[in-house]
Symmetry: C3
Subunit: 152 residues, 3 copies
């Protein structure tokens, strides 16, 4: 029978692939006409890595490296600095989570919508439970992660 | 023939599962060295639920409940308070939407990238149409949601 | 053999479909009780299109067009203005990317979690490489996009 969670072969190749160059010019007070990105919040000062800065961008995408080439698409969105310090963790992969944390429920599910590395292309559900909470100072969540689509 | 939208069995089990504990220590002005999360916008004052507060975090993930255990991963990202008040709605599930609302087009599609509950693991497209607009005061969108991958 | 990247038929129909109306009432200083959305950052002034404004919303969803109908669900989340100006690009589709840009790695992968138009329902991986960087003024990324699930 058809099972979405079968382990698929590691050798599978993409159905579509292409390369684009993204050009990002950060707003520096004097370049409003040319800037393609700008910070909308300030860094928080609790780290040296701009922790908390949120950047909105509308960057041209070109087929070659030249910034003046005609854009074939736009990259529009935001990124932000969420690394407080450097870590010694080995990179093995990332999981991308997204969802609504309905705090009035004892457990609540959010979605795992993608992954990289060991978690290449995965999908699943993360069940969150508040394990303990100390006022606004500290909370601990128990995350139970269940992947239902695995490539590896 | 192979159909992605077949109803899959409810009994299917995960291909991978694991449990992690997330430790979040909120910045409170005096704990910059230990804090792992911080608000980067202020609550808006239109609700009692911190509506509008955006929190960036870089939280350690451990295999057990102890905050001093060696982290095996980091949870990096943001969350924000988007509940204005409490509702009487029964929880049946959530849909996770993401996309570009290209407002100069009459209808535009955004992606449904996941779901929980009745919408477990779903994917699809939401077609948005601006139904009416009253200056900056009010707008109404018509959402036509089409799910192409359903587990239930 | 089962291949996730097979081209699926264009004629496939949704497994579930429904229509909802979203009502958004923007906070205008005097309507705190009724407002369902509010800006949490200011526009940045580098464009005429509110570039950089981040709006948090908690909007009722109804089955018909009447704002006073009983809500059957809530749309909770945020949107922001990320279009700096108008473009002449033909719309052919969008890709939705999400992930962690681990800048200390030479190349890093982020997830393509969905798409619209020519990229209907696609999934894949975008490999990012910093191609050049000029202080904080400019950077260029090389994006290699590999789609492993294609409907078209």
């Amino acid at each position: 029978a058809f099972a979405r969670s079968s382990k698929l072969s590691k050798q599978k190749s993409p159905c579509k692939t292409f390369t684009l160059y993204l050009h990002d010019t950060l707003f520096n007070v004097t370049n409003a006409a040319n800037a393609t990105s700008t910070a909308i919040t300030n860094a928080t000062g609790i780290s040296n890595f701009q922790f908390g800065t949120l950047i909105v961008f509308d960057d041209p995408l070109t087929l070659d490296q030249h910034i003046l080439s005609s854009p074939v698409a736009r990259a529009q969105g935001f990124f932000f600095y969420d690394m407080k310090t450097r870590y010694m963790l080995d990179y093995q992969g990332t999981l991308n989570l997204m969802g609504a944390d309905l705090m009035d429920q004892k457990t609540r599910d959010i979605s795992v919508v993608g992954g990289t590395g060991d978690f290449f292309m995965t999908r699943g559900i993360a069940t969150l439970r508040t394990d303990t909470t100390q006022g606004f100072a500290y909370f601990r969540l128990k995350l139970n992660i269940k992947l239902y689509e695995c490539y590896y």
